[in-house]
């Protein structure tokens, strides 16, 4: 198990290093203008000196090497347009925790509810619950998120009297955005769990369990659910990280100062070093999500841990 984890972590690091190199090189191909807001007014020497200061005159591999060392020290560089010369790390340190808080809260709600709905739907297949649940899933999938986010914001706030915008001083104002984030996740968990459970129902070992007289409830939990949850578990960390990093709509609707809209914003401003830093952070989150998924999966599925092989003939 430990060996497996180390292997996975090692591979994740390699992927990250490669991604950083690609992102870095791609951004070097961009026109140089974006680093200097007042390019037109600068003389050749001024430009040369400014570039020298940023290390842009070195050959790309040298720059890349320097960038890696810099990253190892936890330094993502400084912003050059969004907030001129301000360390990017500090910008993120303020914004990320807010997004993380919302993401975690949404998952705290959506995971249990989604799993419960999935179990109920598969238990009462083609029954009322299943129909309602399917309707809900289809709705979440087919209707653009912006539509129901907006409806929830407008009607949710007018019917219940909750704040229409997020306000860090009013605790109840987090309810609507968190619910908004949770709604599609609930549908996602329910849909996949139902599907996997229905698949499991037809397995030979479920027949076997039934043939040995195990009560239906115990079959449902120990065999069907236990096996169905495995593929789902793999996706949970990724979906959490996706919620954290990608809740652009919700954060802008409720004017939450998280990092949701940040990437779009800095691209528009052509803040190259911010773009570079954010893309790398998102890539890292994605890789960490997959890594955690793999490790969680290995914890629940004995077939995956690659050690302990001697028993097989």
């Amino acid at each position: 198990m430990l060996q497996y984890c180390l292997k996975r972590i090692f591979r994740a690091c390699i992927s990250l290093i490669i991604i950083i190199a690609v992102v870095f090189c791609l951004l070097r191909l961009m026109p140089i203008d974006s680093y200097f807001p007042n390019l037109d007014d600068m003389t050749e020497t001024q430009l040369y000196n400014a570039k020298e200061k940023l290390g842009l005159n070195d050959p790309v591999p040298v720059q890349l090497g320097k960038f890696y060392t810099q990253l190892l020290h936890g330094d993502l560089g400084v912003s050059n347009r969004y907030r001129v010369d301000y360390p990017i790390m500090k910008i993120l340190a303020k914004k990320a925790p807010i997004s993380i808080k919302f993401g975690l809260l949404a998952m705290l709600i959506s995971l249990p509810l989604g799993l419960l709905l999935g179990v109920l739907m598969s238990r009462h297949r083609n029954g009322l619950i299943d129909r309602i649940g399917t309707g809900y899933v289809v709705l979440m999938q087919a209707v653009p998120a912006a539509v129901y986010y907006l409806m929830l914001q407008i009607y949710g706030s007018s019917w219940t009297g909750l704040n229409i915008l997020y306000n860090s001083n009013v605790p109840s104002s987090i309810i609507l955005p968190v619910v908004s984030l949770a709604l599609p996740s609930i549908a996602w968990y329910a849909m996949w769990l139902r599907r996997y459970m229905v698949d499991e129902e037809n397995r030979d070992y479920i027949r076997m369990a039934r043939a040995k007289g195990v009560p239906e409830r115990a079959i449902g939990f120990n065999h069907v659910f236990r096996n169905a949850i495995v593929p789902l578990i793999h996706g949970i960390p990724s979906s959490l990280l996706l919620t954290i990093s990608g809740s652009i709509y919700v954060e802008s609707l409720y004017s939450i100062p998280g990092m949701g809209g940040l990437l779009v914003e800095v691209i528009k401003m052509q803040d190259n070093s911010m773009v570079q830093a954010l893309v790398i952070v998102y890539a890292a989150l994605g890789i960490i999500g997959l890594l955690l998924g793999d490790i969680l999966m290995a914890m629940v599925d004995p077939r995956i841990s690659l050690t302990k092989k001697e028993g097989a003939r």
Partner: protein, 351 residues
């Protein structure tokens, strides 16, 4: 042999609904199972062997149902059972089953110790340390070396033959009176098949089990069975002791089955095979279901379904050839080649 009837199936009809059509899978089967015996059920694919035994455990697929008839066990009619609760008492504890494919019949995420323990928990009320000791005992009973180490291992760490042993341990751990083996060796290679077969025989003695053994392989039948039931198109067309079926078969379908045994084929000659295909069970079957493929068929075979004709108290067959008015027809000459059962079961080793 003890002649107590333990399970009695009477005029059982089972149907499946499939896309609005009805498939008549079991067509009026009657069968008495005697305490302590080993009954083999043979017949080609699709003849209804699995459906028949599954119906005795309430394990029919959702689209299948008992249309009429009864399954009497212990003073109760199992055919009337509808609720899962009722079946839970029968399944495992009274009738246990070993399935065909050991690669898929064990839960991949649970240790085999856990899976055997699950049987013990529901049928013998054992948990904790007592259960664990019992599991270890079961493991060595079914011939798994080093049970202590194997206890915590998962199915993927076992070979096919070992998994089938585990599956057998799971069935036996339920403490059943009847053990159903539905082609337990079909998915395994020949040497392993012989071992599993011996194991089933040993366990039958040790635990006083009544066994139903389903197989395609007549060599296996000769080796394990006390009685043989031959199924064709959802009906038992002939049933008798092992001796009677092999040395004095009466039904043309049994003749055909025996003629196609590789053990009696002469070198250089083509192996006998039965022509045609079994009837379509979506349609009503008129007369004897085997008639269209039967070279000895009489006119009456195409019109009326034959009843059982008794050959001896233990031997009966459904064929008009046994009617006193029927012309005398000799079974095919090759069947004389069957001289002793040992030779048939030869590849299964001495017993």
């Amino acid at each position: 042999m003890d002649r107590n009837v333990i399970l009695s199936i009477q005029d059982l009809n089972i149907k499946f609904t499939l896309r609005g059509q009805t498939l008549h899978a079991i067509r009026g089967v009657s069968l008495d199972l005697y305490d302590g015996e080993c009954l083999a059920i043979v017949g080609e694919s699709g003849s209804g062997k699995s459906v028949l035994v599954k119906s005795c455990m309430g394990l029919l697929d959702k689209n299948g149902f008992v249309d009429s008839g009864s399954i009497l066990y212990d003073g109760q009619d199992l055919a009337k059972y509808t609720k899962g609760k009722e079946w839970e008492k029968i399944r495992g504890g009274q009738i246990a089953m070993v399935m065909q494919d050991p690669m898929t019949s064990l839960n991949p995420l649970k240790s085999i110790g856990w899976q055997i323990g699950e049987s013990l928990k529901y049928h013998q009320g054992l948990t904790g340390e007592a259960a664990k000791n019992k599991v270890l005992e079961m493991l060595s009973d079914v011939g798994i070396d080093d049970p202590k180490r194997r206890y915590g291992q998962y199915p993927h760490e076992f070979s096919g033959g070992m998994r089938q042993r585990v599956a057998i341990a799971i069935a036996i751990a339920c403490n059943p009176r009847i053990l159903v083996c539905d082609e337990p060796t079909t998915a395994l290679d020949v040497t392993i098949q012989a071992q599993i077969l011996d194991l089933v025989k040993d366990l039958q003695k040790k635990y006083h089990l009544t066994t139903i053994y389903i197989t395609h392989d007549l060599g296996v039948v000769a080796n394990v069975a006390d009685r043989v039931a031959v199924m064709y198109a959802g009906d038992i067309v002939e049933i008798g002791t092992c001796q009677e079926i092999f040395f004095d078969p009466k039904h043309p379908y049994t003749w055909a089955l025996l003629s196609s045994l590789p053990q009696i084929a002469t070198a250089g000659e083509k192996l006998y095979s039965i022509h045609g295909t079994p009837p379509n069970l979506f349609m009503p079957v008129r007369g004897d279901a085997f008639a269209p493929r039967n070279p000895y068929a009489l006119d009456v075979d195409f019109l009326y379904r034959p009843p059982y004709f008794e050959v001896s108290p233990t031997h009966k067959a459904k064929t008009w050839l046994l009617d006193p008015r029927a012309p005398k027809i000799e079974p095919p000459a090759v069947l004389k080649e069957i001289k002793n059962l040992k030779a048939l079961g030869g590849e299964w080793g001495e017993q």
